[in-house]
């Protein structure tokens, strides 16, 4: 019986690719292309994502020799992809980001929630109450409306499910800053989902 060879680690592939082994670089592309594309869609749009995908792997190819292994390879690659997405957003002048502040939770003078428990709960069932395709479109649009700093942190932390520590490394900011930005994004998006599903924030 043949024992399947273990998959080489990212770091092994990166070292081989940096030394000029094209098949190792191709394996990296194979391993990460779907994830980078998904990330690019979330950070930019479906139409811009193919360009971001190409830019990302070209940058990876060119800068492999600078990967030092002081962060995980995936974190390093996500940092490149996030920067590529940001450059792209800057290059294609954006619609002005309108404020999502209206979706923040509201409190009375004593600091109590202004909404009722039923109203506060409703965002939890947004995916059951809204048609899947409609929700997919709305969700993409509202993520695009987040301020850039919040979007990056939220997409990496909550949509790509990276740890807060890895997001901090990928974005070059403190973990406390990641938590603050993700928190603000969650509050806005929670209020937005609630309103879509028919409640006050």
């Amino acid at each position: 019986m043949e024992v399947p060879a273990a998959e080489p680690s990212d770091e092994t592939l990166a070292a081989r690719a940096a030394a000029g082994d094209d098949s190792a670089f191709e394996a990296i592309v194979e391993r990460y292309q779907a994830r980078v594309f998904r990330l690019a869609c979330r950070l930019t749009s479906d139409t811009e994502a193919p360009d971001v995908l190409q830019d990302t792997f070209l940058q990876v190819y060119r800068h492999l020799s600078t990967f030092r292994g002081d962060s995980q390879f995936g974190t390093w690659l996500y940092r490149i992809a996030t920067n590529a997405a940001l450059m792209h957003r800057r290059a294609t002048s954006r619609r002005p980001s309108d404020s999502l502040e209206v979706y923040m939770p509201q409190f009375d003078a004593d600091g109590r929630h202004a909404a009722t428990p039923a109203e506060l709960q409703v965002a939890s069932c947004a995916d059951e109450m809204i048609d899947r395709q409609v929700l997919a479109k709305k969700a993409r649009d509202v993520v695009a409306r987040l301020p850039d700093l919040y979007r990056e942190a939220f997409v990496l932390r909550d949509l790509e499910e990276m740890s807060t520590a890895h997001v901090a490394q990928a974005l070059g900011i403190e973990p406390a800053t990641v938590r603050q930005r993700v928190h603000r994004a969650r509050l806005m998006l929670r209020g937005y989902l609630g309103e879509l599903a028919g409640a006050k924030p």
Binding site: D22, F25, V29, C41, P50, F57, R112, A136, L193
Partner: protein, 83 residues
């Protein structure tokens, strides 16, 4: 810190869920949420938000985009040049 308002609880929620709050603040928040119907509902929806957004924004790599990536890298690098 014995008593906190909903608003303070909301401010601390992310830090609470990540387990980075001091023990006594953590305990005060737990006590508040357990006794507050509104906060219980709020926390549930706050925790559901990432999952709902993740599922709604999932996408797969279309074959033509993958083919374009290969062609692009073949042109710009020495990779993907073997038949």
């Amino acid at each position: 810190m014995n008593h906190i308002a909903c608003e303070t609880g909301v401010d601390l929620l992310m830090d609470f869920l990540e387990g980075v709050l001091p023990a006594e603040v953590n305990a005060a928040l737990e006590t508040h949420v357990a006794g507050c119907e509104r906060c219980t509902a709020f926390v549930a929806s706050y925790q559901a938000t990432p999952r709902i957004m993740r599922e709604a924004t999932a996408s797969t790599l279309p074959p033509d985009v993958e083919a374009s990536l290969r062609a692009f890298l073949r042109e710009r690098t020495t990779a993907f040049n073997k038949p």
